[in-house]
Amino acid sequence: MDFVQNIPFCSILLTLFSGTICSMLSKRAAKWVNTAVIIITGVMSVILLQYLLSTGESFVYWMGHFPAPWGNEIRAGILEAAMALFFCIIMLLSMWGGRKKLDEEVEESKHNLYYILVNLLLSSLLALIYTNDLFTAYVFVEINTIAACGLIMIRQIGRTLAAAVRYMIMSLVGSGLLLIGLCMLYDLTGHLLMSNIRIEVAVIMADGTYAIPLVITVALMVVGLAIKSALFPFHAWLPDAYGYSTISSAAILSSLASKGYIFLLIKIIYRVIGFEVFNSTHIINVLFVFGLMAMIFGSLSAIKESGIRRMIAFSSVAQVGYIYMGIGLGTRTGMIASVYHIFAHAAGKALLFISVIGLTDVSGFSRRFVDQTGAGYRNKIAGIGFTVGSLSMVGVPVFAGFISKILFAQAAVKNTGKLMPTMIVLAISTILNAIYFMKTVIRIYTPCPDCPYEGIAMKKEKLYAVSIILFVALNIALGMSSQPVVDAIASGLDMFG
């Protein structure tokens, strides 16, 4: 076994224990530990990714030296390593961008608690990415939920408390369904490791005796994860949670926490149920329809919204809809498009959240849309960041969002039955996106000579400016050199099979 193969296990353990250590440190020390841990994990993921690209094969890591089917396993392939690296980058930049706001909005004594939660969230995300065992995945899903709930309520105002309660309730409904689903799957197949379950599922499907219970089990798990990742009818908790929590939390939750569940779902589809078996059930059509509905209704709610942060939150609902639509297309290209959109949306949405706080800060801390007039001139870097994020979300060439839209369209062409609805909804949704994002961009670049607010010099907010510049660079890099990323996703998905 190569030494590099210890990396997945070590990165989970490092983030988990550094979280615990943060509880005993001062605010300053906890901040440095947090930053260092994210960077170290990111660097380790780069090394792992290089190793996997050179060998071209995924590997399985035994926890505690018990072979399957008894032991617990970790599995790493190209897609897992790339996802881990990407999550680390987004998390680091979101933390940098929201650092000043964190100091203002969160009580001094609670700062190290915040870093504990961030580290725990990262560790649970890494575990969801790497694990090869369904019950371990369930446990880390719950850790993810608890950490995310803490991130929402660390800023203690009425809105965030209520949002945290709503988030917990919906999440618990989702994880309850996931838990009963995987218990029934264990009952049907007798295994908890993903690869073993998949062999048994193929036997069951060929045999035909337990086909209906199997479909119901799969449906329970898929619906559970869909609820947790805020698919359209289950998104009621989302606007307040993203709209009122401190800005790093909003960026991390929208771009990472919900994506962890979607990645787990994709893993379950490929590695537990099998792509062909999943395609032969009708669950995929349900996901497709709800994805389409999310794309339209999420954007419509965003247009109606008068608060700028809640508008971006509703836009997340639409973007999650895109991802589910891609999964629902039921083709390999559709899945590639969905995974690419996870990257594109994470980069774009985190940038939007981070830059919007710069805009509201120079508009008298008002969240209302009308007060943002001319904010792009008062805080130049935030204005540029918001514009880039908007263009990426709308799908303008050069930026990441364009590539994902084109991938979705190409994937739809390969599925004749779903071609028309996909194309129509994709077009409508793009127009709706353009309406509310361009409306905002025009608003922030409308000169406002009578406005009483003062601009801000970027020299005072170096870290914030750096994080926005890096986010912009990330968006452009994803959009300009998309082919390596798409190739990596494709080979990563092939490794799943």
Partner: protein, 123 residues
């Protein structure tokens, strides 16, 4: 049908309990009742797992007087899963209860709809 139901009595009971808990968690307005629903739901899952791991006439896999044959013991994995699940559900319930206390201190009610109304009025 009747025979199947009798053979799988505990599974059926656990599914009904799961439904009751799930409905309460989703539909009740009172936060405490929601948390009770959550606990019923989780307990139903544990009942289901425990029933699935149990084999009639066998004993718990705890070694007394040396290891007996494999046929002597029940399947220990579901019991292990139940233990893990209980830990998770305890921590989640504790978090929910602490959130409820926070909300109650602020709004003096446990009704989620009334809390939302009061929140709108605050602004």
């Amino acid at each position: 049908m009747g025979g199947n139901l009798q053979a799988n009595m505990l599974e059926a009971v656990s599914m009904i309990l799961f439904g009751i808990g799930f409905g309460n968690l989703l539909l009740q307005n009172n936060l405490i009742k929601k948390i009770i629903g959550l606990n019923i739901m989780d307990s139903a899952v544990y009942l289901f797992l425990a029933e699935k791991g149990y084999i009639r006439g066998r004993i718990a896999p705890i070694v007394v007087n040396g290891v007996q044959s494999v046929q002597a013991y029940i399947n220990p994995i579901p019991s292990g899963l139940v233990l893990t699940g209980i830990v998770v559900s305890v921590s989640v319930s504790a978090l929910m209860l602490s959130l409820t206390i926070r909300l109650y201190r602020r709004y003096h009610t446990l009704d989620l709809d009334r809390i939302s109304m009061m929140m709108k009025r605050e602004e």
